[in-house]
């Protein structure tokens, strides 16, 4: 009975569940580190518990039994951890790590198939039960009997808060009560501010609000804080604040020093009254969830505007030519320029709204590496840089698998076993570094390991054995490394072991190429390997180079262009019946667009000098021979529909301002054509 409503509830569920699991996964890594140092942040544990609790509630309501049962088990485990009934030991951490992993898979399955069948959770449930039997060591008994807190505060404590209060007493921490009176208009902000300050000094155990009918413009809070710091230190951190008083609380032991106010002034009356007017039903939250399809639609509209803008600019140019720099023509030209600027801002804003930090993927990789390290007994440290770098949401999702593949490759084939590393004089703990950064309209992602590197000579030999390369051919290192990305190379077990690489790299290449990206490999034998992925920031609106061949125009996506050169006919050589040139230390195959699209009257055919646009996709490079370069322009790619399906080398069409449609080249297909086609 999957009605429309239920389907949309599933979609909502998947979004929220993914967010929850993502944030839990992030916390787990930190939690494990803290647990090893014996310094677990109770707030983090409680957040984790609450996330699990929410997930359980949601899945229960939608009747997702597996998600609900597993999250229930993990919630119970977290509850025992936060209540101090069990310790953070290996059993508990392992159960959490693998539990979150399985939950993610279940949720992904619900998202993709609308059902959670096919994933077994019984092993997880067993693991959780075992972890829950690892009882904590007994603690010194303390009670709340002699604690000098008001009954009103004590009776509103949740079970968890009560536990935290007792735990603070057990650790011989001092208790403090912060009394705060804030104007209604600004209490949320001020409460947040002092809470942040207090959290830097200790743990906020409870926040109890109270309000008085006689002064509805004021709202008061009692914050109970446990801390190892002295009253003076905490007072200093709070600073002088209107309406905030710090009290030490008697803990039943030696009486703490008498309270002295941080400041005892009442909240400012006038300000408070003004604030009363601004009572609101508005939400506090600053974020809105939007279906990515709505953003796609917005992007399309912006695309249409870009086309219209171009046509207005052209009219304005023509008018300037016709009328000269006079009144109306100049006004239109100014207007067109303003329109152009605003439109660019709009476009950037729309693109910006689709952007998410790549850290989302990086933290998943972190978990994978941790698990690999545990399972295979290879010590490895994963360091990440630039996790805040932003990328189109859809691209981030599509990147997850290729990156996972590359990191696994580094782990499996790159990094040596600890004993071998020791023998080589390398640090026992291997290193994998992930870096992301934005350069112009591109995102550069690097995966670098300090493992054994790739033996280029061995790959050359295999390539010769397989007939991919002629014996004695002087192919440069880069060309040889590119063989790694061929499917034939990847699937052979033997090849992958000998080369130390190559498992599924063809799949990675396909994925990256689909995103309009490129891959480069650099390696040094015995020192390590670095893979660099270069991606465009977004896919829908692109910068393109317009070129002319005969009477035809084409658009080449700028993000796949490396450079454009003017070369002499004499530089062109023929290797195996194909035209190539040597550009710096690389052999670059050439492709004449006039030949591919059978265009007559190309000037390049007879000219002494010709233009070559060097394009790249994944690890491959190609030079496109054209008649002339017409300049750079923003274009919106439109699908050509079924009619043109099967036409090689065309990604779609775009309209220029003059309403003339031109073809946008599919660089990937052209490269494929040039390197494999006859």
């Amino acid at each position: 009975m999957a009605g429309k409503k239920e389907k949309s509830a599933y979609a909502e569920f998947v979004i929220e569940a993914e967010e929850l699991l993502e944030s839990m996964g992030d916390r787990l890594t930190a939690l494990e580190k803290d647990a090893e140092e014996g310094n677990v942040d109770p707030g983090m544990v409680n957040d984790f518990f609450r996330s699990m609790h929410t997930l359980k509630g949601l899945s229960g309501m939608l009747g997702l039994k597996n998600v609900s049962d597993l999250s229930h088990g993990l919630e119970n485990l977290m509850d025992m951890l936060r209540m101090g009934k069990i310790d953070f030991r290996h059993g508990a951490m392992d159960a959490l790590f693998s539990g979150v992993e399985i939950l993610s898979r279940l949720v992904a399955r619900v998202g993709a198939a609308g059902s959670e069948e096919g994933i077994d959770i019984s092993a997880e449930l067993r693991r959780i039960r075992q972890a829950m039997e690892e009882k904590a060591e007994g603690d010194r008994d303390v009670t709340l009997e002699n604690v000098g807190l008001d009954q009103r505060i004590l009776e509103t404590l949740t079970e968890y808060e009560e536990h935290r209060l007792l735990d603070n007493l057990r650790r011989n921490n001092s208790l403090y009560r912060v009394e705060a009176h804030f104007p209604f208009a600004s209490f949320d902000r001020e409460l947040h501010e002092i809470s942040e300050k207090l959290r830097s000094q200790g743990e906020i155990i409870s926040t109890l609000p109270s309000s008085d009918e006689s002064s509805p413009e004021t709202i008061s809070f009692d914050l109970v804080v446990g801390s190892a710091k002295t009253r003076k230190q905490i007072a200093r951190s709070l600073g002088k604040r209107k309406g905030v008083t710090l009290h030490a609380v008697e803990c039943g032991g030696t009486p703490p020093p008498a309270a002295a106010p941080a400041s005892r002034e009442p909240p400012e009356r006038a300000a408070a009254e003004a604030g009363y007017e601004s009572m609101t039903l508005k939400s506090l939250s600053q974020t809105v969830r939007v279906d990515i399809r709505k953003l796609d639609n917005l992007m399309n509209i912006v695309g249409e505007l870009v086309i219209n803008r171009t046509s207005i600019s052209q009219i304005s140019q023509e008018l300037l030519v016709l009328r000269g720099f006079t009144g109306l023509a100049v006004d239109l030209s100014k207007g067109a320029r303003n329109l152009e600027r605003n439109l660019r801002q709009l476009q950037q804003a729309v693109i910006g709204s689709r952007m998410v930090p790549i850290g989302q993927v990086f933290s998943r990789l972190n978990r994978v590496v941790r698990k690999l390290s545990q399972d295979f007994g290879k010590k490895v440290e994963l360091t990440v840089h630039g996790e805040e770098t932003e990328l189109d949401k859809l691209m981030v999702e599509d990147l997850a698998d290729p990156l996972l593949h590359l990191v696994r490759n580094s782990f499996d084939h790159g990094l040596e076993a600890p004993a071998e590393r020791k023998k080589l004089g390398k640090p026992e703990v291997g290193s994998i570094e992930l870096r992301a950064e934005q350069r112009g309209n591109h995102i550069i992602i690097e995966i670098e390991d300090d493992g054994r590197g790739i033996d280029v000579e061995k790959i050359r030999k295999i390539a010769v054995d397989k007939g991919l390369l002629e014996e004695g051919h002087s192919a440069d290192e880069q060309s040889v490394l590119n063989f790694l990305f061929l499917p034939a190379f990847s699937t052979k077990e033997k090849a992958s072991q000998m080369s130390g690489r190559g498992v599924g790299l063809d799949v990675v290449k396909t994925n990256v190429a689909r995103l309009g990206g490129m891959i480069d490999v650099e390696t040094e034998l015995g020192v390590g390997t670095r893979l660099t992925i270069t991606l465009p920031i977004t896919l829908a609106i692109i910068q393109a180079l317009l070129v002319e061949v005969g009477d035809e125009h084409f658009a080449i996506p700028l993000n796949s262009i490396l450079e454009s050169n003017r070369i002499y006919k004499g530089q062109i050589k023929t290797v195996e019946k194909r035209e190539v040139i040597h550009l710096r230390d690389r052999t670059l195959p050439l492709l004449r667009l006039a030949d591919i699209f059978r265009i007559g009257g190309s000037r390049a055919a007879n000219s002494d000098k010709l233009y070559v646009v060097v394009v790249g996709l994944a690890e491959k490079r190609l030079g496109l021979v054209v008649d002339s370069l017409q300049g750079q322009q923003e274009v919106v790619i439109k699908s050509l529909g079924e009619v043109f399906e099967g036409v090689t080398g065309v990604a779609g069409a775009t309209e220029l301002g003059d309403k003339k449609a031109i073809l946008v080249l599919d660089v990937g297909a052209l490269i494929e054509e040039a390197t494999h086609g006859s």
Partner: protein, 125 residues
């Protein structure tokens, strides 16, 4: 028909949507959403509410603190409160009832039960 107002305090947006979807079956009931205790404090003075449904376990400020404030403030003390908890949250549910909550609902929320509780508490629905 006179409108009745309900304040729904729950930190999970999806759970809020599911509860609102169920509550929409009651004609004349207007729902204001709050994402936690502090958010609810902001919204309480903005409307005369006939009922409040609140989760207990929430970030920033939990449901118990919210109930305590309401029961100690003459402006809000008469707003009937319904606590939403999981079956496991017995302890916290009892604390909520002790503070003056009128009734409770357990998650997973059963639509019929939810509607029954709300209709019992708000006269005229």
């Amino acid at each position: 028909m006179a409108k009745h107002w309900c304040l729904l305090v729950e930190d999970s947006p999806t759970m809020r949507q599911l509860i609102i979807f169920a509550l929409k079956r009651i004609p004349g009931l207007e729902i204001v959403e709050a994402s936690d205790g502090v958010d609810a404090l902001k919204k309480l003075p903005g409307q005369k509410f006939d009922i409040m449904l609140t989760d207990i376990n929430m970030p920033v400020m939990d449901g118990l603190k919210l109930i305590s404030l309401m029961k100690n403030n003459p402006n809000y003390k008469d707003i009937p409160v319904v606590v939403i908890t999981t079956e496991g949250g017995k302890e916290d549910r009892e604390r909520g009832m002790a503070l003056g909550a009128k009734s409770y609902i357990t998650k997973p929320v059963q639509t019929t039960n939810l509607l029954k509780v709300v209709k019992e508490i708000v006269p005229g629905l």
